[in-house]
Structure formats: structure tokens, C-alpha cells
């Protein structure tokens, strides 16, 4: 039989984590990402790994801090309200310069919200989410196959830069089934001389810590971290383009919104409207450069989001407000339809606001 299998997005990312060498999973169930935990519960004991359902999200993220300190690949997953609970621990991971993968399969909010898909945790993911100055590497898959490749990438870059990564999916991507190829090739690993592995009295002891007694020192640590963030912004932004060569209108969309947008673009093109798309694959670092370049070519942008308009602010900043940006959105667990987006495109083509 073919080298393909059919998997749910949640299962695929779990399997990808295992393929990337992750043997420690700590979590707490929440719809619509519970399959991640269920898959890990089945698989981890068979391969000598650890699956642990913690007593809460807060406990789970602190277990992640522990394993990350020991230099092992580790992950946790949740959905929106659970990520809010984990945010304190995520800030500690960032403050301790620890690599780990956090998966957010978003659902509608705020508050308890609902269990249907959403992208309304964009601000939380791209601005850090917890307290203090920090960033996460944020990956936004739009297919089940990308759930696999970006999970692996998330682990790799987290280790490379010693910082936490986030896979920012949504309920639809977590729940949908698609064929995937699990042959992911060679996984990059990195030496971790900083890890707490025991000195055996052969070296100076390592310290993993986010507390600094002197403000001058803490300031320098922040400066150094942001120097590294600059390098990441310059080198690690990922994006995809669709029919941008002759486009007059540029849609910007990620995840599930990008898939619906593609159908709307095809429909608009059939009616003679020149529209294309820039799909951010990393949300931090945000692909500012291709957007700024597009601003000199297109007449306007449309941000398609499952939120009240969060990424639209990054688009306006990236293009220095050179061109108008309109919003096409649904919220609360609803997904924009092809028709919703097509209507926005038509309005933009007439020069109006979508």
C-alpha cells in the first residue's frame, strides 16, 4: 500500500512530535484537541516515553519546564482556555531560555466560549501571552500535512534558539482527516551543554532560572534576548504565496482561513478579478518583507480571519499603512464561507471597504 496514512490533525501532530524525538508529553484534556492526549496515551508507553495527564494545565506546563531544563524534547497541548492557564509557565520557559513545543488548537472565546474553531488567540500567541518581554516562535499550519512538518520545525527551531515554540492550529485542523506522509526525513538536533543533566563532578553546575537579583543584569538578559529575536525576524519568517504575480488585491490569511480564501480567489479569478494571497506560515516572526513589497504592487489588502481582526494590525504595520486593509471575518466558532470572502473581494475590486 502507498506510503500514506489518513489521520486527524491532532493525531498527526502527536505522531510528528514522536518522530521529532519528543518522548515527554504532559497535558490535560480539552475539546477540540483531546485526540493529541489520547494518541500520546496509546503510543508513549509502547516506545518508552512518558504520557502524563496532569491534575491541571498549570501542573502540565510546569512539568514541561522540568523536562525542558533537563534538555529533552517535551511538549504540551491544549485549546484556548487551557493555554491561558499555561501562560504563566510559558513566560517562565521564555525567561529561562528553555525550548519546548506548546500546541494550541484554538476554539471560540473569550472565556469558556465554545468548542468550535477560532483564530482569536492570535494576539495571545504572537505577543507572548504571559507577562514580560518575550516572543514565541508561532507556526500556523493549514493542512494536516503541515501539522506534521511544522511540529517538527517547531521542535527544531525551539532547540536552535533555546525558546518555546507554539503550533497555532484551530479546531477544524485538529479534527479534520487528511492523507499524510509521515516520512519526514532527517530531524535536526542540537547540543544542549546548558541542560541540567548532573555534573558527575566533572564540570561546573548549570543553572536554569528566570530570577535575577540585580535589575542591571536582568536588563542585559532582555537586551540579549531581543538581539536574538532580531536575528530570528531576519531569517526565519515563513510564508506561501498564491497567484500574486499580477494581483491587484492581496488576501492575507493563515490556517483554515487560507484554505477557504484559495477557493474564493479561484472564484474571483473566474470573474476576471486579479486577486492573490500571501499566507503567513510563521505568525511570529511575521512575514513583513513580502507584505511590504506587495504594498507597492497591489491596490488593497484583505485580512481574512476567524477573529474580530487581530492579524490585520500586523498587516497594517508591515505595509506601513501604504494601502487600505479591509477585514473579512467570522467569529464565535464560525468559518467565513467562500461567498463571504468573494463578496469582500468584489467590494475591494470596486475600491470600497469590504
Amino acid at each position: 500500500m502507498a506510503n500514506k496514512v489518513i489521520m486527524k490533525g491532532n493525531e498527526a501532530l502527536a505522531e510528528a512530535a514522536i518522530l521529532a524525538g519528543c518522548r515527554h508529553y504532559f497535558g490535560y484534556p480539552i475539546t477540540p484537541q483531546t485526540e493529541v492526549a489520547a494518541y500520546m496515551a496509546k503510543k508513549m508507553p509502547k516506545i518508552g516515553g512518558t504520557f502524563l495527564q496532569a491534575e491541571s494545565e498549570i501542573a502540565a506546563i510546569n512539568m514541561v519546564i522540568g523536562v525542558a531544563s533537563a534538555g529533552k524534547r517535551v511538549m504540551t497541548s491544549s485549546s484556548s482556555p487551557g493555554i491561558s492557564l499555561k501562560s504563566e509557565g510559558i513566560s517562565y520557559l521564555a525567561g529561562c531560555d528553555l525550548p519546548a513545543l506548546i500546541v494550541n488548537v484554538q476554539r471560540g472565546g473569550p472565556g469558556l466560549g465554545g468548542i468550535q474553531p477560532s483564530q482569536a488567540d492570535y494576539f495571545q500567541a504572537t505577543r507572548g501571552g504571559g507577562h514580560g518581554d518575550y516572543h514565541l516562535l508561532v507556526f500556523a499550519p493549514s493542512t494536516v500535512q503541515e501539522m506534521v512538518t511544522l511540529t517538527v520545525k517547531g521542535f527544531e527551531l525551539a532547540d536552535k534558539y533555546r525558546m518555546p515554540s507554539m503550533l497555532l492550529a484551530d479546531g477544524t485542523l485538529g479534527q479534520m482527516m487528511e492523507p499524510v506522509v509521515l516520512d519526514i526525513g532527517e530531524v535536526k538536533t542540537y547540543e544542549k551543554p546548558w541542560a541540567l543533566t548532573g555534573t558527575e563532578l566533572k564540570r561546573e553546575h548549570n543553572i536554569v532560572n528566570s530570577l535575577f537579583l540585580q535589575p542591571e543584569e536582568l536588563e542585559q538578559v532582555n537586551f540579549a534576548r531581543y538581539k536574538m529575536y532580531e536575528e530570528i525576524e531576519a531569517t526565519e519568517a515563513m510564508y506561501d504565496t498564491y497567484l500574486m504575480d499580477d494581483a491587484d488585491i492581496c488576501i492575507v490569511a493563515f490556517g483554515i482561513a487560507a484554505r477557504v480564501s484559495k477557493n474564493a480567489i479561484d472564484a474571483a479569478r473566474a470573474e476576471g478579478i486579479k486577486v492573490g494571497m500571501i499566507r503567513p506560515i510563521t505568525l511570529w516572526p511575521f512575514p513583513k518583507k513580502p507584505l511590504l513589497e506587495a504594498a507597492d504592487k497591489v491596490n488593497s489588502f484583505i485580512s481574512v480571519e476567524l477573529s474580530m481582526g487581530q492579524m490585520i494590525e500586523d498587516i497594517e504595520l508591515a505595509i506601513r499603512c501604504k494601502k487600505p486593509v479591509s477585514l473579512c471575518n467570522r467569529v464565535g466558532g464560525m468559518i467565513p464561507t467562500t461567498e463571504d470572502i468573494l463578496n469582500s473581494i468584489k467590494k475591494a475590486a470596486k475600491g470600497g471597504n469590504a
Binding site: 502507498a2 509521515l182 484554505r259
Partner: protein
Amino acid sequence: MQYKRVNIIAGHYGSGKTNIAINLAMKMKEDGAQVVCADLDIVNPYFRSKDAKCALEKKGIGMIASEYANTNVDMPAMPSDAYSMFDNKDRYAVIDLGGDDVGAAALGRFREAILEENNYDCFWVVNPFRPLTRTVELAMEAKEEIEAVLGFRFTKIINNANLGDETTQEDVLGSVEYINRLSELSGLPVAFTACKEELFAELENKIVNLFPVTLYLRQGWNKKGE
């Protein structure tokens, strides 16, 4: 195919039970039976047989589903009218269970009624392209777990080998060996091999008991023309 009155659709998580249930209910209706389809999935929050409620009702097939299915009520709720499947024995019933042993638990309260009436088929839906049933040994393990919770045995296998929209003729043909082996190991007959309707014509003469299925749970974000 000769139908039993109660048709239970169970199997590993994500093996395609829901789509099989909907298609089987449609076929039974076409063959002249009065049919009711019951969504007893207490595992899946999305992509449920209730999604096909309109399509089923248009064909005159009754739908039993929790009024909370597809809402934000995140609880494994049973439909309030589920017992009507057993009170009214004039209708055929197709029961779509949730995946694995966890999903099979929903049938527990009906076990006695099912065994007493003793006019049922318990279909074991298998998709060899699912990683956790990739080998016949893994599939057999899953079978034991489900049967332990059901409290009775499967009666027939449904081969649902597929890769969703991307399924090719070769994918279905390649699954025959696996399914035959599974049939041998379990001692269960293969009721039919399902294939998406687009492949039916090319495969009809190559596979015995081929059953064309329409994919009812397709969504708007899939590429056009598929």
C-alpha cells in the same frame, strides 16, 4: 444484502463509521426499508452523522441525534429519543457509534434490548490506512477492546480502505489482501468493501461486494473539483 433490523456501526476511531452509517441507511431506504439513523457518537465534537441530517431526512430517513450535537454543549450526551429504536420494531435502525472502546460504551444501556431481540448485525469498520490499525495485529487488538465494552461480538467486517479525497483505485485494490487476512484471523465474513462512488465503475469487476459511497462530510475548504 439481507439486512438485520438493528445495524451497529463500530470500529477504531476515524475508520469512517459515520460515512458508512449514512450510506448504509441510504442504501437500505433505496431497497425499500423504513430506516432510522442514530448518531450515538459520544466521542467526536465535529464531523458527526448529524451533519447529514438534512440529506437523510430528504430521503425520508429518520434521524436520532442529541439536541446538543454540533453545539457548544461539550458533554457526551445521548439523544433523548434513542430508545424509540427498540420500542418501534417496524423500522430498521442504523446506529453510528463513536470510535474505539470509549465510543462503544454508548451502546451499553441498549445491550439487553439488542440481545433479546437478536436481530442485529454488528459491523466492524476497518480502514487499513489508519496508523493505529495499519497492521492486522493492531486491528485485532482494537477489535478485542471494543468487543469487551460492547458485551457481544462483531458479526461482519466492512472494508473502508481510503485516504479520503485522494483515494486511488490501487489503494482499494491493495487493501483486499489485508482484509482477507483479517477475515481469516477473526473468522468474520466481509460484508462489503466500500469505495468512493467515483471509483466504483473501474473497480466493480475487480472486487467482490463493492459498495459505492458518497462522502457526506466533505467541507467547503476542500479543493474544488474533488
